[in-house]
């Protein structure tokens, strides 16, 4: 991986990621996650479901961004991702994250026309940005799957006062699963968007909208 990719995928890159907990705050509010084991179970559920979908769409967008006719493919991927994201709050959060990455890319990758508009879904933005910075579909998928686990885990550190070393060790235990998820997703690259994975978990679809009803919340999602 080149330094430009490391820079863009660094959690310190100003793309707005720390505003989002990936439904972790809602899970904590609901009493569903209270400790490190709960965080690990939450992340493993994401890895089997929403992370798998995000990884596949990131890989597909990365593959398509290297080829002619990406605008049309991007519109199709957008519609298919919407269809796989029943929670309105999650769709909004995904576009906020995608928009943050596009804003960053416009500053960093001068002159890069990403063909995605100002606020695409996050996996599409990730795929296109990774492609433009010299990476391939499997890397884009790995970044998407890792973000789907590391984002909520980092939020859990802040919400539950967990030991950050223990949380990073837990994420490291997930690393082989994240790599496997990325390899599976990379095999989806080039397939018709309608054929991409559509896994989901009802709780992950319900929690984000419940989250928006809280009077006090620290995270945007």
């Amino acid at each position: 991986m080149n330094a430009l990719l490391l820079l863009l995928l660094d959690s310190r890159a100003p793309a707005g990621a720390q505003h989002h907990s990936g439904a972790m705050e809602a899970a904590v509010m609901a009493g569903l996650v209270t400790d490190l084991t709960g965080v690990e179970n939450f992340c493993r559920t994401r890895l089997r479901t929403s992370a798998r979908v995000a990884a596949a769409f990131a890989a597909a967008a990365c593959y398509g961004a290297e080829r002619p006719g990406f605008s049309a493919l991007a519109a199709e991927l957008d519609a298919e991702f919407e269809a796989r994201t029943p929670s309105e709050a999650t769709r909004t959060a995904s576009r906020q994250l995608g928009g943050g990455l596009i804003r960053l890319a416009r500053s960093v990758l001068k002159g890069a026309d990403l063909d995605l508009g100002a606020a695409p879904h996050h996996p599409l933005a990730l795929g296109a940005v990774v492609s433009r910075a010299g990476g391939g579909p499997e890397l884009a998928a790995r970044a998407a799957a890792l973000a789907a686990c590391a984002g909520p885990a980092s939020a859990a550190v802040r919400l539950l006062g967990l030991d950050p070393f223990a949380v990073h060790a837990m994420l490291a235990r997930l690393a082989p699963g994240i790599d496997e998820c990325a390899a599976d997703a990379a095999r989806c690259a080039g397939q018709p968007p309608a054929a991409l994975p559509a896994d989901g978990a009802p709780a992950l679809d319900l929690l984000p909208d419940y989250h928006l009803t809280a009077e006090v919340r620290l995270f945007a999602s």
């Binding site: 707005g16 505003h19 802040r158 009077e215 006090v216 620290l218």
Partner: protein, 204 residues
């Protein structure tokens, strides 16, 4: 949009928890609303009480307030990664094309939390006398580098044993000539001097 290319002037209002940032925003709205169309972005724990507080000022309709949830990192959201605040500012600009001024209120943080000039054109740092009269001497970038330092709640000074002359002397020593204003929103609910500074900071 980066401030250099932004049309609507943006002023950041930061400072520790409880120093009176929201009250100052309400006071500025009250004083300036007759001549200035204002939008407000709030950061962090924004309750219906906070919204009521601004609404009661009678000059800031709900649709001109945008709340940013900072993910428990209020300083990051105004300094290191300003993207969510830029989204909020741009949404206000898009929905209200006639705005003359946008106030960005930070979440309550500590003395090291300052705004990026990628987000705002000018920033006000608000401390209060009840936090102790040693605060200006402790410094930190909010006290030393803000464009305006407001020392609030001067009406409480006799009650908490704060020496305003010590605060004025210590602030002057670290601010290299940048202005300091003492306020009490109890005796001056419109924050007249701060409002005058804001008027001067906003092109007519």
């Amino acid at each position: 949009m980066h401030p250099e290319r932004a049309l609507v002037p943006r002023i950041g209002i930061g400072g520790p928890v409880g120093s009176g940032k929201t009250a100052l925003v309400a006071a500025l709205c009250r004083t300036l609303a007759g001549t200035t169309a204002i939008g407000v972005v709030t950061n962090d724990i924004y309750t219906t009480e906070d919204a009521d507080f601004l609404r009661r000022a009678g000059v800031l309709p709900d649709e001109r307030i945008r709340a940013v949830q900072t993910g428990a990192c209020p300083h990051t959201a105004i300094r290191d990664d300003i993207s969510a605040n830029l989204d909020a500012v741009e949404a206000l600009e898009a929905d209200h094309p006639g705005l003359d001024l946008i106030l960005v209120e930070s979440g309550g943080d500590n003395l090291t939390a300052t705004f990026s000039y990628g987000l705002v054109h000018r920033q006000i740092f608000v401390i209060d006398v009840a936090g102790g009269d040693k605060v200006p001497r402790k410094g930190g970038p909010g006290v030393t580098r803000s464009d305006l330092l407001v020392i609030n709640k001067t009406d409480l000074a006799p009650l908490v044993g704060a020496d305003l002359s010590v605060m004025a002397r210590d602030a002057a020593a670290v601010r290299d000539g940048r202005p300091v204003l003492f306020t009490s929103l109890v005796t001056d609910p419109g924050a007249a001097e701060v409002a005058a500074w804001v008027r001067g900071a906003v092109p007519a």
